[in-house]
């Protein structure tokens, strides 16, 4: 059974069909790439999975349960989290607090206990802090725990987004262009990190990326989206030589 399965998803904005009949499966522990030209509907697909939009038709199945109609925070709680294409960190909170916030639903003590600073609420907060710090170490940001996100260079902000998404202890991680704006050495580090997450944490990862070398190098399977439809699907070599894909990216005659 796949970890995450999208079945015949459709979504239109007014007359514009942003996603038409997309089916996609992500198996447990798999790292799958999702590519396509700008406006192909990749981020829209992520928004559907994370509950920002509700599909007009089709189903999203996670661990045998439909996610359609659930509010986004419930979906996160079930174990599907994501990063954002345009970085959306909590700008007034420290790096550490950003990660701790996303671990919020692991706290069980209520707000009254928090106000009274009961022993259990303090212990829980310490645990959350330790877990968050571990995640910062994982992505290589533990030295900047007290910084504000805006004080970090762009590439490290993207790493913080990943740490924050991991804080929810997901089974499925959706990465939306994590390498955008990174330089060559940052990209190499990021690829290594993503592979580590997949292997060590046994995460199922769906990766949107425009930097082809990243996708081609680390993904075993790739889906190609164009105008809201899956136009190709397969191993990196197959995708690279697929005439539909070349046409989508380069236009007709691009094969020359």
């Amino acid at each position: 059974m796949p970890a995450l399965e999208l079945k015949n998803l459709r979504l239109s904005f007014g007359g514009l069909a942003a996603v038409k009949d997309v089916s996609l499966a992500l198996h447990a522990g798999e790292l799958v790439g999702l590519i396509g030209p700008n406006g192909a509907g990749k981020t829209t697909l992520f928004n559907l999975v994370s509950g920002v939009y509700k599909p007009d038709a089709g189903d999203i199945v996670f661990r045998g349960e439909s996610l359609v109609g659930m509010r986004p925070h419930v979906i996160a709680l079930r174990g599907v989290t994501r990063t954002f294409q345009n970085i959306r960190l909590f700008r007034s909170m420290t790096v550490l607090d950003n990660v701790k916030t996303a671990r919020h639903h692991h706290a069980r003590s209520g707000s009254l206990a928090a106000m009274l600073r009961t022993r259990s609420s303090r212990r829980e907060d310490e645990e959350i802090g330790r877990d968050a710090m571990e995640l910062l170490e994982l992505v290589g940001l533990s030295d900047r725990a007290d910084a504000l996100p805006s004080e970090l260079p762009y590439g490290r902000q993207r790493r913080l987004e990943i740490a924050r998404a991991l804080a929810g202890a997901p089974e499925v991680l959706l990465l939306d262009e994590p390498a955008a704006g990174m330089n060559r050495s940052e990209v190499a580090g990021l690829s290594a990190l993503i592979l580590r997450l997949q292997r060590e944490r046994e995460l199922s990862i769906l990766l949107i990326e425009h930097q082809m070398d990243v996708v081609m190098n680390i993904c075993k399977r790739i889906y190609v989206l164009d105008f809201g439809e899956v136009i190709a699907h397969g191993a990196p070599e197959e995708i690279q030589n697929n005439p539909n894909v070349i046409e989508a990216y380069l236009g007709k005659g691009g094969r020359a």
Partner: protein, 379 residues
Amino acid sequence: MSNLIEAFGALKQFWPVAVALGLMLAPVRKRWWWAVVLGGSLIVTLGGLCLGIVSVYAVRVQALICITAILAVSLTFINGVTGLFSIGHAGFMIVGAYVSGILTALVFKLAPGTPLALAVPVFLLSLVLGGAASAATGLVVGLPTLRLRGDYLAIATIGFAEIIGVVLRFVTFDREVGGAVVQVGGPRGVPGVPAMPGPVPPGFDGNTAGVAAAFVYSLLILALVVWLLRNYIFSTHGRACCAVRDDEAAAEILGVDTVFYKVHTFVVGAFFAGVGGGLLAHWSNFIHPSMGGFVRSIEYLIVVYLGGIGSLSGGILAAALLTIMDVFLKDLLQGRDAWRMAIYGAILVAVILRRPNGLYGGREFRWLLPAGRRRDARS
């Protein structure tokens, strides 16, 4: 000119406030410093009152500072921490004032000469019940306005505060309940709210003991409210609220139940506003519907913004400075009240232009920060 000299001269009587502010602003990181701040404020004010070097009037003003600070920190929690733009805070406040004031008026009239051991718990209970009534109002405001943000939410909160004001203006209730006359006089408000009950310790007379009790209650409750809110803000729930303020959609996607926290914020903020309202009713001994009006809400908003939105410390500082400035301008202008607001406004504009983040925006008193927190940035 003589007015000016007199008004400046009158400022001297607030020296205990200066001492308290000095203690608060001391760059001490130790967390036990709160006891020094609290103890110092109590000793200086009560000692001064006992020795006759601090006037009854000055202590009364200090009690008002504490009450204003309670309203400021509860509002800064709603507007600054969760980032909801509520401008009807006095509406929450007055619900607590009515409930608490009417309750004690009724009880103390029914049982005149209630012994202190009973009167104090009754008074404290009335504050809690007033807070609970305000919290219920907060829930009523919070639920339907969930989808609103920014300006639209602000307009909705004014609307609710005005509804509360109008209802209170129309409610007249003037009859005997078990031998006591309870008056809720519609536009005339509620007269005869008893003073805060307290002992007359040696060295005090009836007059000074009354004002001392008001001051002690207000200060201790302010300390409690600040402690509770500070714990909340620096807890996982507080982080969730800050996340809602910074990026609501991202917070929701990362697992924060934004709907819950927005309603929760209104309920918690309104609860403490109601407690502050209860204190205010017993401080001024009467309640008028206009105390819940728009002008009063704006005054609390000014305190919060001058202090620095989201900062508990800033709220306390601004409450002290603005309350004293108000007194100063009253002395200076001697009844030409229209000018008072004009000068008050001009000073505010000047301060905000020089410090757009308020006096203490994005910061807290060092000793107020939880252990291990090197950075107070939350706002």
